[in-house]
């Protein structure tokens, strides 16, 4: 089980209707690949974030399928179009069944 898993997100505070805004996300996670051996010689079991999703007011922005080739502390950047004031919902899915979430509000004029 990964410890100290902390999500961080960054979106602009405000935007104009129909604008495409940049969204950045980072989550602290070791992303243990399942390819490494520990000091005892045994393979360290895979333990990664395997999926990440972002929705805006219930509409899907992006759904990312993730494999062990993504670096430690997974970072994703993408664009979202915002037509109204609302909330981004971010969700990370861990191999161990844990689900981490975060939200960010944006005001659209």
């Amino acid at each position: 089980m990964a410890e100290n898993v902390t999500p961080r997100v960054r979106v602009p505070r405000d935007a104009t209707a129909g604008e495409s805004v940049s969204v950045r996300t980072l989550i602290s996670h070791p992303m243990e690949s399942g390819q490494r051996r520990g000091s005892d010689g045994n393979v360290i079991p895979r333990s990664i974030i395997n999926r990440f999703t972002c929705e805006f007011n219930g509409a899907l922005v992006v759904d990312v399928e993730i494999h062990p080739g993504v670096s430690t502390n997974p970072y994703f950047q993408f664009d979202a179009v915002v037509n109204e004031t609302g909330t981004f919902q971010f969700t990370w899915y861990d191999d161990d069944g844990s689900v981490y979430t975060d939200t960010a509000d944006i005001t659209v004029a």
């Binding site: 000091s39 922005v61 992006v62 993730i66 494999h67 080739g69 994703f76």
Partner: protein, 140 residues
């Protein structure tokens, strides 16, 4: 997850073992298998997709990659020389502002990074770039 040198060398050996095709890693998707699963063997164009990757990465642990493919339904990123070639796939929804996929990936040595976009009409586009991975002088 601080690695000692010994552990680091060990992880490198694991990667070498993967190159040698040892059986315990046989379930990892090769480049061809991963592409086949995504495209079902369709032909791929090369216009309308841009892959930005460093020519030289200072460390294979964290290599920034950016792909844009206007209008794509999904973008898959692959590392041809990794034990498991498929790295991640961005699937875009109606609230996507553009078809941008930017992330940081692991590269087990110098190899080709491949990006493939699936368009809504079922066609595919791909871009490839070779990335050299620096072998550092010192541990620490």
């Amino acid at each position: 997850m601080t690695q000692t040198r010994r552990q680091f060398v060990g992880s490198g050996l694991a990667v070498l073992a993967a190159f040698a095709g040892l059986p315990h890693l046989a379930n990892a998707a090769t480049l061809d298998e991963a592409i086949q699963a995504f495209t079902a063997g369709a032909d791929m164009g090369s216009d309308g997709i841009t892959l930005i990757a460093p020519e030289i990465a200072e460390n294979g642990n964290t290599v920034p990659i950016e792909v844009t493919a206007p209008g794509a339904a999904a973008i898959m990123i692959l590392a041809a020389g990794n034990p498991q070639a498929d790295v991640c796939t961005f699937n875009y929804g109606p609230a996507a502002g553009s078809q941008l996929a930017s992330t940081r990936i692991r590269l087990a040595g110098e190899q080709e990074v491949v990006a493939i976009a699936r368009m809504p009409d079922g066609s595919f586009k791909q871009a490839r770039q070779n990335v050299r991975v620096t072998i550092g002088g010192c541990g620490g």
